[in-house]
């Protein structure tokens, strides 16, 4: 599985404006709505926040992967965003989050969901890649980095 298999090229931003967890999730969902890949934003929003309530998806090193399963999507989709200033996302390491990967998967999607998390982690584990993504000037630059990393391993 490649990231570009599920990351929609129009659901990418280097300029997240939101400053709180709720606003960020809404802003990332808006990207998916505008890209025309999700049907019901409200349902996904609710499920994503319920998931956050179980424990933050801020997994450390400035990365968060808000994710949820819901019948609001037909297939696994993702949005990507960078917050230049960083946001308090109640991360497990207590550090601000700069890199957001939001994943939405259909209800019966445990396998692909696990593979998508693995794929994203494989790329974001590398500090150089995280720094490149954070410094990217626009969505086009983000996509270029991700496509390169997709080919690499």
């Amino acid at each position: 599985m490649k990231i570009m298999d599920f990351l929609h090229h129009r659901a990418v931003t280097t300029d997240i404006k939101a400053k709180t967890k709720k606003e960020i999730i809404a802003e990332l969902l808006d990207l998916l709505v505008n890209a025309g890949v999700i049907r019901n934003k409200d349902v996904l929003y609710k499920v994503l926040l319920e998931r956050e309530a179980l424990g933050s998806t801020g997994i450390g090193q400035g990365v968060a992967i808000p994710h949820a399963k819901s019948d609001g999507v037909k297939k696994l989709v993702a949005a990507f965003g960078i917050s230049k200033e960083g946001v308090d996302f109640a991360s497990l390491d207590g550090e601000p989050v700069y890199i957001f990967f939001l994943i939405a998967a259909p209800d019966d999607c445990a396998g692909p969901h696990l593979k998508a998390l693995a794929r994203i982690s494989r790329i974001l584990k590398d500090k150089c890649v995280r720094d490149l993504l954070r410094d990217a000037v626009d969505a086009k630059a983000i996509l270029k980095i991700i496509k390169q990393e997709d080919l690499r391993n």
């Binding site: 179980l54 424990g55 997994i59 497990l92 969901h113 696990l114 998390l117």
Partner: protein
């Protein structure tokens, strides 16, 4: 003065129905972090730092798959006991969480 420790290993079958996704991975890492020992988690030929969530997620461990916990250090034995508990725990479905 420094003592060298043997590597302790324990192979476990993951019991979480949805595999080692973000939440159980976080639980594993939070438990691992309580110990001084070096912790490695292995699946097939892949091995990752047991104190890194992103490391663990890269393994994409599914329900019923086998992983090996390796620990080396002064508290390795206790670490393996606690980490095994995390891996064999069956997750409660979110919908029937205690609300009382």
């Amino acid at each position: 003065m420094s003592k060298t420790f043997d590597i302790l290993k324990k192979t476990v079958i993951v019991q979480n129905q949805t595999g080692l996704h973000a939440r159980p991975a976080a639980a594993f890492v939070q438990t691992a972090a309580k110990f001084d020992s070096e912790i490695i988690l292995k699946k097939d030929k892949q091995e990752v730092n047991g104190k890194s969530i992103m490391g663990i997620l890269t393994l994409a461990v599914a329900y019923g798959q086998q992983v090996t916990i390796c620990a080396r250090g002064i508290d390795a034995k206790a670490a393996i006991i606690e980490l095994e508990k995390v891996l064999i725990e069956q997750e409660k479905p979110a919908a029937i969480k205690e609300k009382k």
